[in-house]
């Protein structure tokens, strides 16, 4: 309907005072509302710093960890189940104590976090690529293509990610039957996580694509004669990336949790390449005999990591949602 809505009027006023981000200009970024909202939320700043530190500790584990838990020569079974330093019978070499095989728990956590994060990142990227592509195609093409993709998504959405990952893992185990599972564990995990999480991207991207494709800039591109593939890639994709970033952040947290859960259930990373979930699973056996630290410390590390990422995701969602300004 042809009229000037209040929203547009407001947008016009806002635009004239130039309050938005122009990508690629650092000074403008620091001056933007988004950066300002970031600084205003102290929790978010703390979460960002926390996330950064945890990421660094994880990725630089070989250099920052006090011990190498994979170096069999340096491990002694005599050091097994040493409690954290502030307790009786502690050993000053092991700040948070050791596990059942005498490995330093703190180092184990750094290395475990590294594996958790790598699995998380890889699966998020894989899920995003699948989801964005299918979402764009479904939203832009519409019709049968859309119906088929979205029906698959609907069916899958009725099952929680963890269930799908478990099933895929089970099927993979069946297919690779005799082969040593440890070699494939990492890839199976990533595939099962990616296949469990793509739906969210696809649905979101499809939704935004359907909004964007009716906008006049897309029609203008069609009137010029630009082919669909280029319109999708050059015009629509950059405009639907905002919500994708939010989902990716929240999904990273979810992927880390799911990976940990799978490993805890014994179908994720094997004890030879332990992620945080594997460490907790190992520690769980010693919970009742009083050696609580073997399970609790990796668990707290996991919670801390996920909490920080979630806090960032939460802020990002609010900051990118113009409705909540």
């Amino acid at each position: 309907m042809p009229y000037v809505s209040n929203e547009e009027a407001k947008a016009a006023v806002q635009d004239r005072s130039g309050h938005q981000v122009a990508p690629g200009r650092l000074s403008k970024v620091f001056d933007s509302d988004m950066f300002h909202s970031f600084l205003r939320s102290k929790v978010t700043v703390v979460a960002a710093i926390g996330t950064f530190i945890l990421f660094m500790l994880a990725f630089l584990a070989p250099w920052v960890a006090p011990h190498n838990p994979f170096d069999l020569a340096s491990i002694s079974i005599l050091d097994a189940r040493v409690p954290p330093v502030w307790m009786e019978y502690a050993d000053p070499r092991f700040l948070l104590g050791t596990d059942d095989q005498g490995r330093d728990l703190l180092s184990g956590i750094f290395y475990g976090m590294r594996i958790s994060l790598i699995v998380g990142f890889c699966s998020v990227v894989a899920a995003a690529v699948i989801g964005i592509t299918l979402g764009l195609v479904a939203g832009y093409m519409g019709g049968r293509v859309d119906t088929v993709i979205m029906r698959i998504a609907d069916v899958q959405l009725t099952f929680p990610a963890i269930l799908i990952a478990l099933l895929i893992d089970g099927i993979a185990a069946g297919i690779f039957g005799g082969v040593d599972r440890e070699i494939f564990a990492f890839y199976i995990l990533i595939v099962s996580l990616a296949l469990s999480f793509w739906v969210q991207y696809a649905r979101t991207v499809r939704g935004s694509t359907m909004v964007e494709k009716n906008k006049e800039y897309v029609q203008a591109a069609r009137v010029i004669g630009i082919p669909s593939v280029i319109i999708m890639a050059r015009h629509i994709l950059p405009n639907v990336m905002g919500p994708v970033m939010v989902i990716a952040t929240i999904n990273l947290a979810l992927a880390i949790v799911t990976e940990a859960t799978l490993s805890f259930l014994g179908v994720g990373m094997p004890p030879t390449q332990p992620s945080l979930g594997t460490l907790i699973a190992v520690g769980n056996d010693f919970l009742y005999s009083g050696e609580w630290w073997i399970a609790i410390f990796p668990g707290l590390a996991l919670a801390l990591l996920v909490l920080n990422v979630n806090l960032l995701g939460d802020w990002l969602r609010d900051a990118l949602n113009p409705k909540l300004r």
Binding site: P2, S5, E8, A9, H19, Q20, K215, V223, I224, G225
Partner: protein
Amino acid sequence: MNVLDIKDLTVEFPSRKSVFVAVDDVDMSVEAGKVLGVVGESGAGKSTVGNAVIGLLQEPGHIAGGEIFLHGKRIDNLSYKEKRLLRGRKIGMIFQDPLTSLDPLQTVESQLVETIRTHLPLSAKDAQKRAVELIDSVGIPDPEERIKQYPHQFSGGMRQRVVIALALCAEPELVIADEPTTALDVSIQAQILELMKKLCEERNVAMLVITHDMGVIADITDHVAVMYHGDLVEYGETTQVLGAPKHPYTQSLISAVPRPDVKVDRFPVVNYIEKAGTPQKHIDISTHWLGKSRDYEQVAGPLVQIRDLDMRFEVRGSIFPSQRKYFQAVKKVSFDIEQGETFGVVGESGSGKSTIARLITGLYHPTGGSILFGKTELTSLTNRKDVLAMRRQMQMIFQDPFSSLNARMRVRDIIAEPIKFHKLASSNAEVRQIVDDLLDHVGLGAQAGQKFPHEFSGGQRQRISIARALATRPRFLICDEPTSALDVSIQAQILNLLKDLQQELGLTMLFISHDLAVIRQMCNRIGVMRNGELCEVSDCDELFEHPKHPYTRELLDLMPSLELLSRANLETV
């Protein structure tokens, strides 16, 4: 005695960087039974005045100074609870969009009854009776039946009547209407305005009407307050202000209003708001790249011939053909567009006028009929090369300046895209030169190229759209409501620009609008559409002076009369 007195009202919206003064030291008042119009363009602060009176300023906005009196009693400093009791009881409010103003999950009756019982000590039964009376009084037929229905069962105009009934249900002394007819079609707009005027007089209610539309002001207001960027620039009796405006802003605003009764050659340029864009560098079109659009093969006869064009959309899909439901958007439409002319298509929303534009440009594929462009039949083109060649010759300018440009691309890239895609220039340097010249030519200046669309105002964005459309060197330009989202002063500039470009480049244009006045200023011949059918095609002056089809006459009758408006500054043809 005045019902509403506003004294020295100032409203501020503090933001991170500065304090935005939305309303600056404004005085106005309304008497019982009278209508005060507050008129202004976007950003004038007119809606803020209404929200301040009813106490619903959006955070962080607040009244920074001044006083508001209702019947001599000060109301701006009341507590939250006291203000709430005033709302609905003493002050009623009518919102702009009737489609979103009503709770979709409650019947009309329950929304009326709860409002009545909040303010008046009536039993449920009496409240119900009163609700039926109200619905009857706002002119909804079968009130007893319809009151049991849900909002989605009413049409837009009927919903606005329900909204009016809700605003009036506790006999308020003052009614504030914020753009009450902007979202409605012309024919319904006239009925709603008439109803509001009638109720206001019958019930001796004071009314504050906030609008951007001079037609609404001329139609129903007794007094008018003209606002510009938070300031009250002129205030007085409507006949006085419109007939003999004193302030230069009011003068230029009134002269920029397109009118159906006078045909002007060019709109008077309003320099008050935004620098009217004039080409900063003179380009000799005849030798320039742009001028080559005149080199297309000339065709004898009309450039575009449309015959029996049909378009239906599937509203409900089904695997069984008998279960499918269709909406016939365009029915057997035929017309010609001569070379070099501007052909206007006018109609209300849903009349199918925009669909025709999209059919010609190939955004939709027609379900029947033919479109002959020059010697080429567009509906049977299959070869991609031929399609592209046709696409290049016709371009389109869209309605919404906020969504017609890709927000993630720089203006330079937006304009360069068609040139590069159709390989119309040999080198990147040449593309760059052409883009700069185009930006100059539409009055933005070459340096605009490195910015992003959001850094421009609506009018400037529409100029960018025009530059993009010209970048394929088209010979046929389709304008789909190109100015309906713009303020009148900006509209005048854009329309002037389009007229200039048409002359320089010898363009043929299809101009689509719901606004008869705009159509009259722009077009040589006009087609009137209704429910997908073309009622009448005739020459512009002929249509306005001797309309043949009854629907055309009805549309012309419903147009707000602008005879009150001053005719100074107009260069008539």
